[in-house]
């Protein structure tokens, strides 16, 4: 099963089993991380912001214009900020590393 590495806001890192076909948002939530995901992945909110490890940024599916629009409402964006409901796990993302923003 693909692995997902997550660093929380305290700097603590953990590696999770990430089922193929589930979003990073779903994976983080089912592991108890405080990712809201209010709109359940329909790109109607921006409450699942994560910062992707720059080494992985170019290997993710390209960001859609709708996702860019929602990211406009997020504070303290970084160059590798994404909405993690849009990242679907699979073998090609085995080892993906993300961190949770502090704001």
């Amino acid at each position: 099963m693909p692995k997902l590495t997550v660093t929380d806001t305290t700097g603590k890192t953990a590696t999770l089993d990430a089922r193929t076909g589930l979003s990073v948002m779903e994976t983080l939530r089912s592991n108890g991380y405080p990712v809201v995901g209010e709109c359940e992945g329909s790109l109607a909110c921006a409450t699942c912001h994560v910062i992707v490890d720059p080494a992985w940024a170019d290997r993710l599916p390209e960001i859609s214009e709708k996702e860019e629009d929602m990211l406009d409402t997020v504070f303290d964006l970084t160059a590798t900020s994404r909405l993690c409901c849009q990242i679907i796990m699979g073998d090609q993302l085995d080892g993906l590393a993300v961190s949770l923003p502090t704001t």
Binding site: P34, V36, E38, C39, E40, S42, A44, C45, E68, D69, L71, D72, T73, F75, D76, L77, A79, T103
Partner: protein
């Protein structure tokens, strides 16, 4: 705040989103009267505020319906039961018990007495999406504002607008002719706004009336004793800049928050209200929660599940509002809504 004389009804519904609106219908079919309170100025909740133009595909018998049209249909369906809406106000306190009845007080001073309360508040109440800047609250209300009430308040002031949507662009254009200066801070050069307004903003920028500050984000506030003198912004590359400012208008849309509801003894876990799935009753007897805000094993956050929960909760409310009365149930096919439903073009879409 003026407190008005109390109003009396059978049930107070908190939240006028799709599920709250359908709860009016379900209560109405049992002869129960409803008052509905919502923070927003119009009914519809997220459907109206966040995605009115988005199609929804999982409403039974509506292969495709725009969220805004779904709300119009639900409003029409509720109308025969004469619901009383209290819009643009937030419920601040909930007092009372199932035995003695409940009293709800809103931010506008509306007081409503009812036999039961139904919470259909979705993700909570909407408020401005506030930037996480140090010392923000000392400036809010006078130097940091989230909407423009009167253009005149901005005359000869140095205004910084932050955000990249329609409101940011519209207000940049509108304030350019009264403000001393207008700067627009946005994290990328592209604005997600009506093209003609973006074109007008660009023209004003070319003539020097608007300073387009991209790709920058808000980084801090500079001022003294609540008086703002500058806004600090950070470039994508990490470098910083200071913009002279008397007023900052952060326009980053709405954000949902449980607000006062969290202190009502409802049994809240991770932003959701735990309920008994058979009755939709919360930890506080007589207070029910339906729709996205509820949680129980197997809960799905779907509008259609919220509709079913509204019907089930309505039957529970009947027992509280009509104690000792037998609930004579008839399907809507044999007992149509009491008042003929007005023709509504949105229903035909």
């Amino acid at each position: 705040m003026t407190v008005s004389p109390p109003l009396t009804t059978d049930v107070v519904i908190i939240g006028a989103g799709p599920v709250g609106l359908f709860a009016i219908f379900q209560c109405g079919m049992l002869g129960l009267r409803a008052h509905v309170v919502d923070t927003l100025d119009t009914p519809g909740g997220q459907c109206a505020a966040l995605y009115p133009e988005k199609p929804i595909y999982d409403i039974p018998s509506r292969p495709e319906v725009l969220a805004g049209d779904l709300i119009a249909g639900l409003e029409a369906q509720a109308r025969p039961f004469d619901p009383v809406f209290h819009l643009g106000q937030t419920v601040e306190t909930l007092e009372g018990t199932a035995d003695e009845g409940f009293t709800v007080t809103t931010s506008a001073g509306t007081v409503i007495c009812a036999s039961a309360v139904m919470i259909a508040a979705g993700g909570g109440s909407f408020g401005p999406n506030r930037p996480p800047l140090d010392g923000l609250s000392a400036y809010e209300g006078h130097a940091v504002v989230y909407s423009v009430q009167r253009k005149e308040d901005f005359r000869d002031r140095r205004v910084v607008i932050a955000g990249g949507g329609d409101s940011a662009v519209d207000w940049a254009v509108a304030l350019a002719d009264v403000a001393a200066s207008v700067a627009v801070v946005h994290r990328r050069p592209k604005f997600r706004a009506a093209p003609d307004m973006v074109a007008r903003m660009t023209t004003l920028a070319e003539s020097g009336r608007i300073d387009l500050v991209t790709p920058y984000q808000l980084a801090g506030l500079d001022g003294d004793g609540g008086a703002l003198s500058g806004v600090l912004v950070r470039h994508t590359d990490g470098s910083s800049r200071r913009l002279e400012a008397d007023i900052l208008l952060p326009l980053f849309g709405l954000r949902m928050d449980l607000g006062p509801l969290a202190s009502w003894g409802l049994g809240i876990d991770k932003g959701h209200v735990a309920v008994n799935p058979a009755t939709l009753e919360t930890a506080r007897p007589g207070v029910f929660a339906i729709g996205d805000i509820t949680h129980y094993p197997g809960k799905l956050k779907l509008i259609l599940c919220g509709f079913a929960e509204a019907a089930m909760a309505a039957h529970q409310v009947f027992a509280l509002a009509r104690p000792g009365e037998a609930l004579h149930f008839e399907h809507s096919t044999s007992k149509p809504p009491a008042v003929p439903r007005p023709c509504n073009s949105a229903m035909a879409s």
